[in-house]
Amino acid sequence: MAREKYRFNTPAGRVFDVFNVVILVVIGLIALVPFLYVLAGSFATEAEIATRPFFLWPETFSLKAYSTILTSDAFVRALVTTVLVTAVGTGIQLLLTASMAYPLSKANLPGGRVMLMLIVFTMVFSGGMIPTFLVVKELGLLDTYWALILPAAINPFSLIIIKNFFQQLPKELEESAMIDGANEVRTMWSVILPLSKPVLATFALFYAVGIWNDFMSPLLYLNDSSMWTLQMFLRQVTAATDLSMLQSDASEMPPAQGIKFAVIIVATLPILLFYPFLQKHFAKGMLLGSVKG
């Protein structure tokens, strides 16, 4: 694609171009450097973290921080818990969302429009934190992992985008399945969902990132610290010690600095591994949403 607007350039324009590249590269680095600093710190020795204020490459490599956290029961439990809750939760949330989106994609479904309006209304207004907490409590879901999955099971925004996607699939495919005697549940399962794999994958990632990163639900619904997820663990490790450091003399032994660095890396790593997929699909998803929303 030839970008015509750049064909003619003045000397001042060329100077601007150079500055522009420099500025944007700096901005890009600002996004990256805090993470690189933590990555370097997680492989550094405790002494190096204490003496060097800033570095992106450790002088002496050490795996001490990682070996400490990976042999810590609390950390391994939090990690395994988070992986499992994310995997199971994503499956449940995606299934619930897709199976609600499919009937709603039928324009002739009696009551469909009213239901859609009621769903959109929940995007605008909610009962709030405390009434939701009380519902979760009344259902006996406090201190269960269901509390991390069910209250956010269907994201109205995702539901509507998936519904819109189903709507623009060719009707003929469904009809041929129906003529062959399949009911709608079967049609959805064996025709619609396979056709929608890319979209469903996108929203699976959406949900997975949401559960993985969720801090509010475990904070609200899990009192039992042995049930904590990675984000709660991270919070405890970084914030608690910082507050004890604020009291200048830390009488109790605070977790070593390197551990904080390593926990941050572990909490971030899955996101970074999935990032190439995330970037590709999320950008599209967001634009789709903003156009249709």
Partner: protein
């Protein structure tokens, strides 16, 4: 393909044969049996919305009661608007409103324009490799959790050990503890907001910029327009509708400060600047157990939010109709 096409034609015909218009109006049970599988699929979703979205809305009536868990919602006594009047009369109200509005204002005044500026700079970039790399980098923070962002902040600004603690204090010649100083709460929050959200926020503007008609630029170049005047007279007017719509949408959630971000950065020393509606509801309701009072605060926020959203929507529609599009 041919097979598909025939089926398409046949499909339309069969449908009108199966459902003649007269039968369509003949009673609820016919509808139900025809759509029973679809309704079956809807049931889990309906239960979800009823239980986790609508039940809390009705549960919010405890804002008008003196909710005692032991008595239940029905058994607790009505108190009318007492919690609301108490809240509006308390010094908390002014403080929370102030803190919330200041953060919202900073967001609109700093983070929002910055997003547009970065999108414009990216749009002016000639090297597409650099452009793509920078985009890839600046989107990353969006996907990190607030816990990770808060932890990074704690490390970078940590008293005596944080790199940014050193850097800024050396430059300013001061000895500021950024994590506990109430005066530095908002700058730190803004820094987080900008770091996490600005890159991602450019997407919508880059999309708008990509759809600007390239011929306009050619015409402008022939007329002798320079780089700056092209941005000023073509690019900016072209994306003005997007800017206005995004601005209006942002104004719709002025009271939403983001619970996780603020909660994670709040500590006992910076509470006076840190307390906002969202975190106040948590501390009052969950930590202190004042369910009714905190629900009233939350409800007030939610209702203002609805008014703002509908107001913004109305403005946006009006704006769109007055014909920039």
């Amino acid at each position: 393909m041919v097979l598909l096409d025939t089926r398409a034609a046949g499909g339309g015909a069969t449908e009108s044969l199966i459902v003649p218009p007269r039968r369509r109006r003949s009673g609820v049970h016919v509808h139900f049996s025809r759509f029973k599988w679809l309704y079956l699929l809807l049931i889990p979703g309906i239960i979800y919305f009823a239980v986790f979205r609508y039940a809390p809305m009705f549960g919010a009536i405890i804002a008008f009661k003196d909710y005692v868990p032991f008595l239940g919602i029905g058994g607790s006594a009505w108190v009318g608007f007492e919690h609301f009047t108490n809240f509006f009369a308390s010094p908390d109200f002014v403080r929370l409103l102030g803190n919330t509005l200041i953060l919202a204002f900073l967001n609109l005044a700093i983070a929002f324009p910055l997003t547009i500026v970065i999108a414009l700079l990216l749009n002016e970039l000639r090297l597409s490799i650099v452009k793509r790399t920078v985009q890839t980098l600046i989107y990353i923070p969006h996907f990190l959790s607030w816990t990770v962002v808060a932890s990074l902040t704690y490390l970078l600004f940590a008293l005596d050990t944080g790199p940014l603690f050193h850097l800024i204090n050396t430059v300013l010649g001061t000895d500021i503890n950024f994590l506990t100083d109430p005066d530095w709460f908002r700058p730190v929050i803004m820094l987080q907001t900008i770091w996490k959200g600005t890159g991602w926020g450019t997407i919508i503007f880059l999309a708008a910029l990509a759809s600007v008609d390239q011929e306009q630029y050619e015409a402008a170049i022939i007329d002798g327009a320079g780089r700056w005047s092209r941005v000023w007279h073509i690019t900016l007017p072209s994306i003005a509708p997007t800017i206005v719509v995004m601005l209006i949408l942002k104004m719709g959630d002025v009271l939403d400060t983001g619970f996780e971000q603020i909660y994670l950065m709040t500590n006992s020393l910076n509470r006076e600047a840190a307390d906002v509606f969202d975190t106040f509801v948590y501390f009052m309701g969950i930590t202190q157990g004042s369910y009714s009072y905190s629900t009233a605060v939350g409800l007030f926020k939610a209702i203002v939010g609805v008014i703002l959203i509908f107001g913004a929507n109305w403005l946006s529609r009006r704006f769109n109709q007055t014909g920039i599009f």
